[in-house]
Symmetry: C2
Subunit: 421 residues, 2 copies
């Protein structure tokens, strides 16, 4: 598919992340105004809430589904409505739209540079998977030795755990270094201390659009997915090491998970579908690939000490995953677990085969034994106070880019006394 | 505290679970009517939604917080409002209330026998702990041997994992036996099959009333808790055994969790506070007991094969727990994890020291090696199709009972083909 040209000139630049081919959904405000649903096109945001109220572009003829600071009500309407809405939206923004339409839409738009972005949807529940083979092998090797790196179940099911929806925040939110219970290997008893090994996890997040009640097939799961965001699952490695046996990660992952503000729809990603890797064991029928289930999304992580320029510390690709989000969602439903509009599924950390492709500091510094040297000359094993971590992602089309924007957060020092009031 | 007498005669029976001392909160409907907030007193339900609309009993002078099929808006108002409301409610229902008040309240009430009960609150998120020492020791012994029964962290933090809020259902809901991926020890590869080792977990559920944003002390956590329910965390042991390393239980616990329909308030439980057990290691300051933090709640589990009378298969007490809900909630907040109105915290399975005090079939049948014999003569290692499992709980006061009602569910056969449409 080539670049689709828009009358919004900035959207026609091959490097602009938001061409007519993309049209991601977000929630924005300007100055101290209301939170409104918006659509990115070039360097502008279309006010979707306003277009709906004016009757210019409606998803549902009878209900104002965008009269809310989230896209959940729209998501609930399902794939047919998503497709129809996108078609109409592309007509309104195409270069051959009438002058009258262009004037109308311009009225219902704001410069992106003037807008503040907010959470684009209400997170119903948040699940985090562990579906990157290189990541699981790296972490397993560090924790259990190379021979036991991959748990026995890993090549048969996309293992995951339930995270904490209340801790999901939008890109740009500062992240406070947590306190927690941890135990040094050289101490007999644990202590309550600020986290010393605070880390990122580079992930994609899949957003469930339509609900289910009972097991769904991989194809049904794929239909349920509304879109994708970049996701950083901030991780306290020292808290995790002490708490995670036998019930899995808990407080180590509950401080915050950041997501990028624009939901890139499945429709926009369609041209970038790629196959999952070859299988070491054949998957059971209910988890089998039914076509290309991953996406070719180029990913990078930037790290910037306070007041310093950023260094790109990792580059990888979403196609490195062993399991797709559709397979994860199908597995999630096997027990009959009801899945809901707004459920967020983290892919698991995305790492490639080589060292500069690793999606966490734990792997990049090999548990702190091989600190990174940033372009500024500073060394890093884990995150230091004031560091800003930024995930970036895009697909390279034929003369156009499908961008995810960025997912960024600055780490603030731990509270001196977390119980001071 | 003695029995508080009510003009609702049935509430004055020393064995009635719902005297004036109790006054638990639920959501009910009659025939095909709306779902309304209700309060149990003797054999009647007071229509709290109706009392609010009529201006007879209001929690908030300016907002109709009970004009909803859940108590969440009321819970959000906090401890002072909860206490004032309870005081006014006890005055209206006390035996010395005027004839006029008695007539009014009778108009706004229905016989409990005619009502259908629903979920009493919207579950924001659901966390399940593992805080019963006898249970953890029993399960650990079966899975890892007696010497490694308790994980190293167990005596230092109330370990837990995030469950799935969408799967929480009210007592009386039928439970469909799940399918899942499992692996027999005598097979090389896993298979997708109906669960063969379906189980209960006898727990108490604590409901978070007021939110937090940052670490809270144990005393602050206790203030945040609105009340308690009985909780059965249905568990697929064979799915759990295959999936739980290293990320913890996931689909094994996502089919359903049942709760009793009446929220027994912390105020009603106040006379039954008891100390936690002696500590093997001193807890870190932020988790220390600040007074009697558990409750003396007598618990039992009944099992009834289809069409057969029930056998009581276990009797234990909530005071057996090692950690209180307040300590669990304090731990839950250490990372800065935002806690919200409607969060549900499962205590973990409650087992006593001896065999008939065990709160799961896994422990009662010792992993299936020592099947139970029911009063009907039938044997059980795990749940069979058609079995009804019922949790019961009450506190014994001085001439009165604080009852929780029951938490019951019947297990239906697995779907023949979970993907048939």
């Amino acid at each position: 598919m080539p670049l689709l040209k828009s009358w919004v000139e900035s959207a026609n630049d091959a490097k602009n992340p938001f061409p007519l081919n993309n049209l991601p959904y977000g929630v924005f405000s300007v100055d101290d105004g209301d939170l409104r649903c918006g659509i990115a096109i070039g360097d502008r945001i279309i006010d979707a809430t306003g277009l709906e109220a004016a009757g210019i572009l409606r998803a549902d003829p009878d209900a104002d589904v965008l009269d809310a600071p989230y896209w959940n009500d729209f998501m609930e309407l399902g794939p047919k409505v998503w497709a129809d809405y996108r078609t109409k939206l592309q007509e309104l923004l195409a270069e051959d739209a009438s002058d009258e339409i262009q004037d109308q839409l311009t009225t219902y738009s704001v410069p992106m540079a003037e807008a503040t972005m907010h959470m684009p949807f209400r997170v119903a529940e948040y699940t985090d998977f562990y579906a990157g083979r290189h990541h699981a092998t790296n972490v397993g090797t560090m924790f259990r030795g190379a021979e036991n790196a991959l748990p026995p179940n890993w090549l048969h099911i996309p293992i995951g755990y339930n995270g904490r929806a209340s801790s999901v925040v939008v890109s740009g939110t500062d992240i406070r270094r947590p306190w927690g219970q941890l135990k040094s290997p050289d101490h007999d008893t644990p202590a309550f201390l600020p986290c010393r090994r605070f880390d990122i996890e580079l992930e994609m997040g899949a957003i469930v659009g339509t609900p289910s009640n009972g097991p769904v097939t991989v194809d049904e799961a794929d239909e349920m997915i509304f879109g994708y965001v970049l996701l950083n699952d901030w991780s306290a490695r020292d808290i995790q090491a002490w708490e995670y046996q036998p019930l899995g990660p808990f407080q180590a992952k509950a401080t915050a998970t950041s997501i990028s503000p624009w939901i890139v729809t499945k429709a926009a990603l369609e041209p970038f579908r790629v196959d999952t890797p070859e299988r070491e064991y054949e998957l059971l029928d209910h988890l089998k690939d039914t076509g290309p289930m991953l996406y070719d999304i180029k990913l990078a992580v930037d790290m910037a000490p306070a007041g310093q320029p950023a260094t790109t510390i990792a580059r990888t690709n979403y196609r490195e995953m062993y399991y797709s989000s559709a397979q994860q969602l199908a597995h999630h439903s096997t027990s009959g677990c009801p899945m809901r509009t707004g459920d967020l599924l983290g892919s698991g950390t995305i790492s490639g085969a080589t060292k500069p492709e690793r999606g966490s500091l734990l792997e990049l510094s090999w548990g702190g034994k091989e600190p990174l040297t940033l372009d500024t000359g500073e060394e890093r094993s884990f995150i230091e106070d004031g560091d800003t971590l930024t995930l970036k992602g895009h697909c390279e089309g034929d003369g156009y880019t499908i961008g995810f924007g960025t997912c960024t957060g600055t780490v603030l020092p731990a509270l001196e006394d977390p119980y001071a009031r």
